[in-house]
């Protein structure tokens, strides 16, 4: 039984897009075949006559997502969900290209089965989760979280997954375990961004991220295996990814193959690339601007065209201060951004 403790920042169920509406949309796309889906994806490319570096990308076949059984969420956050089509076509996943639509276009043949997620390091019970284990080792539940990108746009996403804390407990960390070091799959054959510096944005792979162990134990930290009722598509980090909703999106590492418990603060990809722009903590903070743009407000990506993308104020800890502010009570968040 799941005991649900609601708090002010939680999602309300009535804000979820009606399932019938949503399923009809998918049926239409299925009936149109991939031609329809592909033309939807490639409109920006065909419009890009003056965009001389734009590439024509059309997936051969869409990645097969499976339905998941999970405890559906009762309650919501009182904010409209971002439509699934937008969550799955607007992605920062440089392993599949730096442009927002590239991951959905270039990842559809990604293989997630077999998969190995290796939990190692300062733990009494090192373990490896195979593909099936990702869905069966823990009870899956739905959680609606705001996702705030460091680029100042945001979404509201109905994730499915399990608490990272459950995984940590199962691994039984030793007293030396102070941090968790996460690592994304390194597979240049499957991930074109890891082969080409231009596609991959010139960052060093594999992508790595980290959390302090008390952050990892916070009930909000989620290991997600699905969204909108189904397993994750590759562009969103299939088959398993981290979701830490009070931090900027780049902390929520995708397609995780390793979680190592370590004593020292682990290196993290964006911090390595530009330490003055991206900190280890990367807590959402409207008071601390990115050196090149303001973080005081954000554009919420919702349904509708260009007039519907409303700018709203950004909240400290992305609105999850009630649950996480205690973790940082003795820290200067201007210094530890």
């Amino acid at each position: 039984m799941i005991i649900k403790i609601t708090s002010a920042s939680d999602c309300k169920e009535h804000t979820v897009t009606d399932e019938n509406v949503y399923h009809q949309r998918r049926d239409v796309i299925k009936k149109m075949g991939f031609l329809g889906a592909a033309s939807l994806l490639s409109l920006p490319a065909s419009a890009g006559i003056l965009d001389i570096f734009g590439e024509e990308e059309t997936p051969d076949a869409l990645f097969a997502q499976n339905n998941l059984s999970y405890a559906a969420l009762k309650g919501g956050i009182g904010e409209a969900l971002t439509p699934e089509a937008k969550i799955t076509s607007h992605n920062n996943f440089y392993e599949f290209g730096v442009e927002k639509q590239q991951p959905s276009a270039l990842s559809q043949s990604f293989k997630v089965d077999p998969w190995q997620l290796k939990i190692s390091g300062e733990v009494e019970n090192p373990l490896t989760l195979g593909y099936e284990d990702l869905y069966s080792s823990f009870d899956l539940e739905e959680r609606i979280y705001r996702l705030r990108c460091v680029e100042a746009w945001s979404m509201v996403v109905p994730w499915i997954g399990f608490s990272l804390a459950e995984l940590v407990k199962k691994a039984k960390p030793t007293s030396r375990a102070k941090y968790l070091a996460f690592e994304t799959l390194y597979d240049p054959v499957q991930m074109p961004g890891q082969r080409s510096r231009r596609l991959g944005g010139g960052i060093d792979y594999p992508y790595v991220e980290g959390l302090r162990i008390d952050e990892a134990m916070n009930p909000l930290a989620l290991m997600s295996v699905g969204l909108y009722g189904k397993t994750l598509p590759p562009q969103n980090g299939a088959p398993i990814r981290l979701v830490v909703p009070w931090k900027y999106g780049f902390k929520s590492i995708k397609s995780v193959v390793g979680i190592k418990f370590v004593e020292k603060k682990p290196p993290t990809t964006w911090n390595l690339l530009a330490a003055n722009e991206y900190g280890f903590y990367a807590n959402v903070n409207p008071a601390v601007d990115h050196p090149r743009w303001s973080q005081a407000s954000e554009r919420r990506i919702t349904t509708g065209g260009i007039f519907a993308q409303n700018r709203i104020p950004t909240l400290p800890f992305n609105g999850y201060g009630e649950q996480v502010a205690d973790l940082y009570s003795d820290m200067n968040l201007r210094k530890y951004y």
């Binding site: 939807l40 409109l43 965009d51 927002k100 690339l273 260009i306 700018r311």
Partner: protein, 205 residues
């Protein structure tokens, strides 16, 4: 390979250039209004018009070297037009940012222009480009006489500022901006004599 095009045909060719420049823009906004530009139509229109303005600016800088080298003098008829389309795209780029990104929050807009170096650089380039667009009117050009050319030589500075603006705005994917730097450098090499002339003039003062 000198090709001459009779004066009569120029207007037809101009119509083609108008269509080639306007169609992508209309297509873009149609997609943006009908939600067919992927996840974030705002980012899409800002990037498209920005890159479009830079490409058009570089094309306008390519015209005179090509016209001279290959004796295609008729190309010079299109230079002002393409320059004005570069301005049009830049205007759309700036308005997209004001309307759709900061959404008429004028205070935020002004803050961003002055606090973010890459936006300061972009806005400076836009202001200069606007001066060139206004003075492209034939009447003004005649009035300005020799000063006109001096003012319009600023297009070399504008193109450089725009490339810096692009380079500075990206998160990590610097290869594309570097390609633009290379194209800019190549365009300046064609003007080696002109640039050297300025240098000597400056030194002899």
């Amino acid at each position: 390979m000198a090709i001459t095009v009779s004066q009569k045909r120029i207007p037809y060719l101009k119509v083609l250039v108008h269509l080639a420049a306007l169609y992508p823009l209309l297509n873009l906004y149609y997609g943006a209004f009908t939600d067919q530009l992927g996840g974030d139509p705002v980012e899409a229109v800002i990037h498209f018009t920005g890159i479009g303005a830079l490409n058009l600016l570089l094309i306008s800088l390519l015209i005179s070297p090509i016209a001279k080298r290959f004796k295609l003098t008729f190309l010079m008829h299109f230079r002002r037009m393409i320059g004005l389309y570069a301005f049009t795209y830049a205007l759309c780029h700036m308005l997209n940012f004001l309307f759709f990104e900061v959404q008429f929050d004028v205070r935020l807009f002004i803050e961003e222009v002055f606090e973010r170096p890459y936006i300061t650089v972009g806005m400076s380039a836009f202001m200069l480009l606007m001066a060139l667009a206004i003075t492209s009117i034939t009447k003004l050009r005649r009035k300005m006489k020799g000063k006109w050319q001096t003012l319009h030589n600023f297009t070399y500075l504008i193109a450089l500022l725009v490339v810096i603006h692009f380079y500075w705005s990206v998160k990590s994917e610097i290869i594309e901006p570097l390609i633009y730097f290379a194209i800019y450098a190549a365009l300046m090499v064609f003007r080696y004599k002109k640039l050297r002339g300025w240098k000597e003039k400056l030194l002899s003062r």
